[in-house]
Structure formats: C-alpha cells, structure tokens
C-alpha cells in the first residue's frame, strides 16, 4: 500500500492532465483546487486494473471537497455550495 500523503483539511490541487486509458478523475475537476474531507481507504489503482495489471500497491483514495463556484464558472447556486469528488492520490498535488 502506498502511504497516504495528505490528511483531512489539507489543500490539494488536481492534476490537469489528459492521459489515455480508463481514468476515474472526471474531466471537469482536473486542475481544480479543494480540501481533503476524508481518507476513504486504499484500493488497487483502477487505471492499472483496466489494463489487466494488478493495480498494486494500493493507492490511497480521498474524498476532496471543492467550491461549486470555482468548479463551474457560470454557477448560479449558493456561494457556500460544495461538491465532493473521490480522487486517487496520484492525481493530487499539495497546494
């Protein structure tokens, strides 16, 4: 298992990259910054599993909270609205 680099409360930035293959990080959240809400555990890397490999060592998975207004430029809801997205550690950098 890969050691968890982040803790709840840490600010993180999602990698803005567009590799080929099966990616669990949605397009709309790439490049956005948020705050780690919790560590969900560690799981075999789905990007590797999709290519018929083991996906090991397991990658930490985080629930990251983002401001809706920052994710969607035309967001018209409340200013305090947030969206949680589950993202694997290798897609995150410390901000």
């Amino acid at each position: 298992m890969v050691e968890a680099k982040f803790q709840p409360g840490d600010r993180v930035k999602v990698m803005k990259a567009y590799p080929l293959g099966h990616i669990r990080t949605p397009y709309y959240i790439r490049g956005c910054s948020g705050v780690v809400e919790r560590i969900c555990g560690a799981f075999p890397n789905p990007e590797e599993l999709a290519q018929m490999r083991s996906g090991l060592p397991a990658q930490p998975l985080y629930r990251v909270r983002f401001s809706q207004a920052e994710v969607w430029p035309d967001y018209r809801g409340g200013r305090g609205d947030t969206i949680d997205v589950e993202i694997f550690q290798h897609w995150l950098d410390k901000e």
Binding site: Y18, A50, M52
Partner: protein, 104 residues
C-alpha cells in the same frame, strides 16, 4: 489531441433525467448475469474487472456509443475484454455469430 473523452460528460447540457423504472429484456438480464459470472463472484475464476469493462466501454466510438443502449455497450465491452484476454479468438466469435444468425 482530444482532452475530454466522449463518455466523460459531467457538467455538459443533457436531456431530462428519466426517473421511472423500466423492465429489462431477457437478453439484458443475461448480459448482466454474464458480467457477474466473469467477475469471479461466488468463487469462479475472475476473467474480467469492472475497470476493464469501463475501459472497453469508453473506447467505443462516439457515434456508436450514442446509438447503443446500456446493455449493448456492456456486451460489446465484455466481448472485447474476452478477446483481449485470449478467452475467445476472433475466429471463434465470427463462427458463433454466423451460427446464431442462421438459427432464424
């Protein structure tokens, strides 16, 4: 280079969400059962991961992706995965498809 894959449509405008439940055809139920069995649930040999299923759904061309129903995408993806893993050969698949077609 296309940055956004066709399936990755979060945030794009879309039609109304259809909330009513609908019944499944027999073939759709069979495709679902096939996926469960190939996933190695209940101790059988694991011949497919959900991630491979997703990868092979996501590589269906945009036009075909939009035309296909949910379980049509599944059956295409399961077949592609079995070919990639060498569980079946294209020749076996082709012969079987001809045989099924001639059942009438």
């Amino acid at each position: 280079m296309i940055e956004r894959s066709h399936h990755d449509m979060g945030g794009l405008p879309a039609g109304k969400v259809e909330r009513s439940e609908h019944d499944y055809a027999d073939w759709e139920r069979r495709v679902d059962a096939l996926m469960v069995l190939l996933s190695g649930i209940k101790g059988a040999q694991k011949l497919l991961t959900v991630d491979e299923l997703r990868k092979n759904i996501e590589t269906i061309g945009p036009e075909a992706y939009d035309k296909m129903s949910y379980y049509e995408r599944w059956v295409v993806s399961i077949t592609q995965t079995m070919l990639q893993r060498g569980v079946i050969t294209t020749e076996e698949l082709a012969r079987k498809m001809v045989e099924v077609k001639h059942r009438g």
